[in-house]
């Protein structure tokens, strides 16, 4: 009963300082699981295209011939499916959010992974085989 139910909380809050933080001067709260943005490592990607298949938003494009891996940050919903699916650990989820942009640009990377020499097999065969293995996994 009463009209001063809030007073205790108000007094405590007055003493306790602000509950918010001065972002961006103080960085936003994040934790180890926070899904911020995808980081791609071109030196280990083997162009298996599993990430392309898994992405629910068609945010990733891969050109195997040209060795180009692209991500459209405006489409990406940071679900983390591609990270889970990449068998070679080329994708990681960073905790910081991608900064806002004023222009729609697709981020483009040139894959620098070089296949170790294996003289017995032809490169073309190898790439198809890898894809098959990935699918059944």
């Amino acid at each position: 009963m009463g009209i001063f139910q809030m007073t205790k909380t108000v007094l405590r809050n007055l003493a306790g300082g602000p509950a918010t933080r001065q972002y961006p001067a103080v960085p936003a709260r994040s934790c180890s699981l926070t899904r911020g943005h995808i980081v791609f490592d071109p030196s280990s990607c083997r162009s298996c295209s599993l990430c392309v298949k898994r992405c629910p938003c068609e945010a990733i494009r891969l050109d195997k011939e040209a060795k180009v891996w692209e991500i459209d940050r405006m489409r990406c919903i940071a679900c983390g499916d591609c990270v889970e699916g990449c068998p070679f650990g080329s994708l990681t989820m960073e905790q910081s959010y991608h900064p806002p942009v004023t222009e729609h640009v697709v981020e483009r990377y040139t894959i620098t992974y070089v296949k170790p020499e294996r003289p017995a097999k032809k490169p073309a065969e190898e790439s198809t085989k890898e894809e098959g293995v990935g699918e059944s996994a």
Binding site: N13, T34, R35, I77
Partner: protein
């Protein structure tokens, strides 16, 4: 007889976070009739089910609503799992329950804040949202997303919560419970709030039932209907009793939500204590063929996902009924007889989520 005039309420109105339009027919200051119209933010998400694979549609289902996102995903996954006859592991069921209840608390605290803001009680609004922040922090710590958790998938959940984290959550619940009770005390016992809410927007038990009210709107009128009673996810193991008030006014609907926050805290506590060990997902093979009405209890009431699969990897049809749609007819019934100045509070009292309703 005084002259009748029509005052448009919405689609843009300070108390409305989302667009709904109501034509209020007034005699002087008194509302005699209300004519709602909806359809401002239809996004066509149901159609999208034919373009996205059934496993991918979870992400879309989750984005139907920004507040009950987890429960939408859960409801969708349950539907697909039922069609495909997938048995979800126990631990996944418990984790789903914990996240559902956290979503419920965060939704109710958000609503309580908005409601306090609608009453003009700014302090209370800030306090509610301050508490809500700690819930969002837990959600982020355990799933990686504050609002869109992305943790439910067909066949289970995508992330586990470690025992250490569970213990930490369990410990933090005591303080949180105490804080929520402090907040609830203001909503339930403060005279300012009581004067503003009691006897406002009354809807009787029979009317609420006949008009198909859902969730706290129905329970505030004494209709003890809560889908959690049917025991989906882990509610069957945990035991659950719906929170019911009988007066059917705005105060009752507010009280139901306040007490549901307490109930949810209790459910989370018990779910953590009884959390079974084991896997968190099962491998999903094949495609859904068949149809199912999947139901789950959202903070606003019961949500229904009707899913129909034809054996391809895309579902043939999805139809979603959200609780806000069910609560519009009771709202129209509540409005006549009240004063124009009370309309915002009464509209807010059903917790309208228009984004959800129009998909």
């Amino acid at each position: 007889m005084p002259e009748r005039i029509i005052v448009p309420f919405g689609p843009q109105h300070p108390v409305l976070p989302e667009p709904i339009h109501i034509d209020l027919v007034l005699e002087d200051e008194n509302v005699v009739d209300a004519i709602p119209s909806i359809g401002y933010i239809h996004r066509g998400l149901e159609q999208l089910v034919q373009k996205r694979e059934y496993t991918e549609y979870v992400y879309v289902a989750e984005r139907i609503c920004g507040i009950c996102s987890f429960i939408h995903a859960l409801c969708y996954c349950q539907g697909v799992e039922h069609i495909m006859k997938i048995e979800v592991p126990d631990r996944a069921r418990y984790l789903r329950t914990i996240w559902s209840e956290y979503s419920r608390i965060h939704s109710h605290l958000l609503w309580l804040g908005l409601f306090a803001d609608g009453m003009g009680f700014e302090n209370l609004f800030m306090r509610s949202w301050q508490l809500r922040e700690s819930v969002l922090d837990v959600l982020e710590d355990t799933t990686g997303g504050r609002v869109i958790q992305g943790s439910c998938k067909v066949g289970g959940v995508r992330r586990d919560i470690g025992q250490e984290k569970l213990d930490e959550i369990h410990r933090s619940l005591d303080l949180f419970d105490q804080q929520c009770r402090g907040l609830g005390d203001v909503f339930l016992n403060d005279d300012t709030v009581k004067y503003r809410l009691k006897g406002l927007g009354v809807i009787s038990k029979d009317e609420a039932y006949d008009l198909g009210a859902a969730g706290p709107t129905a329970r505030g009128s004494g209709v003890a209907m809560d889908h959690r009673e049917t025991g989906y996810a882990a509610y069957g193991d945990l035991g659950f009793k719906p929170v019911v008030e009988t007066t059917g006014d705005c105060y009752a609907r507010c009280a139901v939500r306040v007490k549901e926050v307490y109930a949810s805290i209790d459910l989370i506590r018990r779910a953590i204590e009884e959390m079974p060990e084991g896997p968190i997902d099962v491998k999903v093979k094949g495609t859904p063929d068949g149809e199912y009405f999947s139901r789950a209890e959202q903070p606003r009431g019961e949500v229904i996902h009707y899913l129909k699969g034809d054996g391809s990897k895309h579902l043939a049809r999805a139809r979603i009924r959200t609780p806000t749609l069910a609560n519009i007819p009771p709202l129209v019934k509540m409005l006549p007889g009240i004063q124009l100045a009370d309309v915002p509070i009464v509209v807010l009292s059903i917790d309208p989520c228009i984004g959800c309703m129009e998909r």
